[in-house]
């Protein structure tokens, strides 16, 4: 077993365990923290796949940005007084578990039955390679992302801001 395979197994186990903890844990802050660790493990997988720029971006955006956003949103809402009764019915949970489980097994059978040859030209996903591809072939999509970000910024401010006006 090579070092890469050992790293893959460790990182995949961390990612799966943290993703399960997101569902299992009780407190909301623990769940958000668990998502941050899951993102860390996935960033490690990107480094393993030689996409080092994306790994850095994953840590920057998910761990550095989105986790903070989630924590702030939890702080905005008074999460202790909200109650969750009645609980979702056991039947619903069971049916969704069966459905998701069968979907997963079908996907796994399909994936592991495939015999995909590995690429012949390995490359490293540096920032320069991504920049040449992004600004060479996808300029319009890039400007679309700019408009999307503008819409998200203005929309989020408009929706979240009413309270500040009232006070």
């Amino acid at each position: 077993m090579t070092g890469q395979e050992i790293m893959f197994i460790i990182l995949a186990l961390i990612a799966i365990c943290c993703a399960s903890l997101v569902i299992v844990l009780k407190r909301i802050s623990h769940r958000v923290l668990s998502m941050a660790f899951c993102s860390f493990a996935i960033a490690g997988l990107y480094f393993l796949l030689r996409a080092e720029f994306l790994g850095i971006i994953q840590i920057m955006v998910y761990v550095g940005g989105l986790t903070v956003l989630f924590v702030f949103a939890v702080m905005m809402t008074d999460h202790r007084t909200t109650t969750f009764v009645p609980e979702r019915s056991k039947v619903f949970k069971f049916v969704s578990f069966i459905g998701v489980g069968s979907l997963l097994s079908i996907m796994l059978i399909g994936i592991l039955g495939m015999d995909l040859p590995a690429g012949t030209e390995p490359f490293i996903g540096t920032a320069e390679a991504i920049g040449l591809e992004l600004y060479g072939n996808y300029v319009i999509a890039f400007l679309g992302v700019g408009i999307l970000l503008l819409a998200a910024l203005i929309g989020a401010i408009v929706i979240a801001r009413k309270e500040a006006d009232e006070q």
Partner: protein
């Protein structure tokens, strides 16, 4: 070189964990976190095909960058809607926000 199928299997597992969370949890923040997990698994697939797929190409990583951007924008707007909902209806339970449902 590692086979691409291992990464695809990991992506499928993470996607199904996220899907189960979206279906069964009732806290809006948890639902959004689970959607983030699903988008992460999509990113794993894109990067795996881009690096060790049959036709290795950097385009997959560019699209993964777009997915990360859209995830961030979606969380920003989604959590703003959560704050507005909490202000108006004092609840962050998914089930209680079904006013648009007929009957």
């Amino acid at each position: 070189m590692m086979p691409v199928t291992l990464f695809l299997a990991l992506g499928a597992i993470l996607f199904c964990i996220g899907l189960y969370g979206v279906l069964t949890r009732r806290h809006i923040v948890v639902v959004l976190v689970c959607i983030e997990l699903m988008l992460n698994s999509v990113n794993i697939n894109l990067v795996a095909f881009s690096s060790v797929g049959p036709v290795a190409n950097v385009t997959g990583q560019v699209f993964s960058l777009f997915v990360i951007t859209i995830a961030a924008a979606e969380v920003a707007v989604g959590l703003a809607i959560l704050i507005a909902l909490y202000r108006n209806r004092a609840s962050i339970d998914v089930i209680k926000h079904d006013l648009l449902r007929s009957s």
